[in-house]
Amino acid sequence: MHSPIDSRASHARTLAARVVPVGVLLLAWELTARTGVVNPYVFPPVSEIVVRWAALVADTTMLGPLWDTLWRALLGLGMAIVIGVPLGLAMGRIRAAEWFLEPLFSFGFPLPKIALIPLYVSWFGLFSLSKVMLIFTDCLFPVVIFTYHGARGISPVYLWSAQARGTGRVRMFWRVVLPLSLASIYDGVQVAVVVAVLVAVVSEMVSGGSGLGYMMMRAFRYGDVRSAFATLLTISLIGFALYHIAQALRERLLFWHVTEA
């Protein structure tokens, strides 16, 4: 067996092995940009991007667009959950709903919903509404499909044993079907969180109207590559943060799932 010191040393080595590659990558980037081998206009040093990012956050330039992107993404996602979960549960438990909706969702799933941007702009205008509706549409698919698979996959043993105890339809839904589908629903929501940010940013890039996507496109157009990179950094941070918040919430929200079910 390893002695504690050994294992601490190997732990440090593992940590080093994790940090070093990223560090080397960033350092190589910095040095390449500094030596002037590449055009610093299109390839600014990392340090300058970070400084610009901090400046844009400090003078609150970044906060308005950040807020716009965030509320659009979360509103669209929220709508998709409110409408998608009942739809998916109905598909999973009601034969007729499954027959009608399953082919529609499996046909619509591979369609890139981003292709609907021009149509949505003509329906819902150029401003926030068309973007929120597009985010809603795109998030609806993973939420419905995961919920459907969760509800359909419930072991009939649970349903039989609840029925045998005389559980009625309404109670059955709230106490058996919904709780047993929750883990699957949450899988769908975790996929949809990533989709929501992506669609928010792309729709802002394509049809403008504030937000981080628009801010980044405008910075590129004006040749302000440092600000563009800084905005991209914020976009990545949102994706990263939402993904990890969803992961952390999962452990909080679903801990009882194991114990009660």
């Binding site: 082919p103 992506l198 563009a228």
Partner: protein
């Protein structure tokens, strides 16, 4: 014999039955347009969309755009499949590669890939090269992760028994590791097909003078909504057909997998 063909007929029939809900939606759409419940300025009728799709195909206008899009998506996708499986397997078999790649993947993973399109355009030009690179990068991530997970969880019994028979090195990789990781790799590749189409359309929206995304956006821009929807429908069918073809060929290629268990 008769029983078999009877079954085939039944499968075909149930396939048609699956299409029925889609046909109902199209029929309701058409009727709503005909009776005037769905005004033309809001949405062209279903027949009008089909008619302009027929025009686009008959005049051959859609052909060069289809080829341009498929070439971009196909090139990026192919690069991602080859590189993704290679990186994923290396990560699973070589600890140093795993430690080096994991943090880099964690950095790339949350970035909405279409947000990288303008950046790649600044670096690599506005032509095909930048589009193919973004598509390749976006498709790479799910393939690497799926391959890594698949190759890492190869049943050690298989490895031991192959090693005991003197199999090693490249042969072990090709005959044991990759085949047994295949189901997971296949799932990653399927995700990548959907991602390729999304990034393709986004990149053609943002800057292009050819391709299906360009066609949708330019028809949308001049208010030719029937033609725009025709291309969207065409894209949906294309995505659906690719997904089906992939699943069907997979079923054929992995028929042995059922026997393995």
């Amino acid at each position: 014999m008769t029983n078999r063909s009877g079954n085939a007929l039944l499968t075909r029939f149930s396939g048609l039955l699956r299409l029925l809900p889609l046909l109902i939606v199209f029929a309701v759409w058409q009727v709503a347009s005909t009776v005037g419940a769905l005004p033309k300025w809001l949405m062209p009728s279903f027949f009008a969309v089909i008619a302009s799709l027929a025009d686009l195909v008959k005049s051959g206008e859609i052909v060069p755009h289809t080829i341009a899009s498929l070439a971009r998506a196909g090139a990026g996708f192919a690069i991602a499949v080859v590189a993704g499986i290679l990186i994923g397997v290396l990560m699973a078999r070589v600890r140093a590669v795993q430690l080096a790649m994991e943090p880099i993947l964690m950095l790339i993973y949350p970035v909405p890939k279409p947000a990288l399109i303008p950046l790649f355009m600044v670096w690599l030009g506005i032509g095909n090269f930048s589009k193919i690179s973004v598509i390749a990068l976006a498709c790479l991530v799910p393939i690497v992760i799926a391959t890594f997970n698949g190759a890492r969880s190869v049943d050690p019994m298989l490895l031991w028994s192959a090693r005991a028979r003197g199999t090693s090195g490249r042969r072990l990789l090709w005959r044991v590791v990759i085949p047994s990781a295949l189901p997971q790799i296949a799932a990653g590749v399927r995700t990548a097909i959907a991602i390729a189409i999304i990034v393709l359309v986004s990149s053609e929206f943002i800057s292009s003078d050819s391709g299906l995304g360009y066609l949708i956006f330019s028809y949308g821009g001049v208010g030719a909504e029937d033609a725009m929807l025709a291309v969207v429908l065409y894209l949906a069918v294309l995505g659906y057909v690719f997904d089906r073809l992939y699943v069907a060929s997979l079923r054929k290629a992995m028929a042995w997998h059922a026997f393995a268990h």
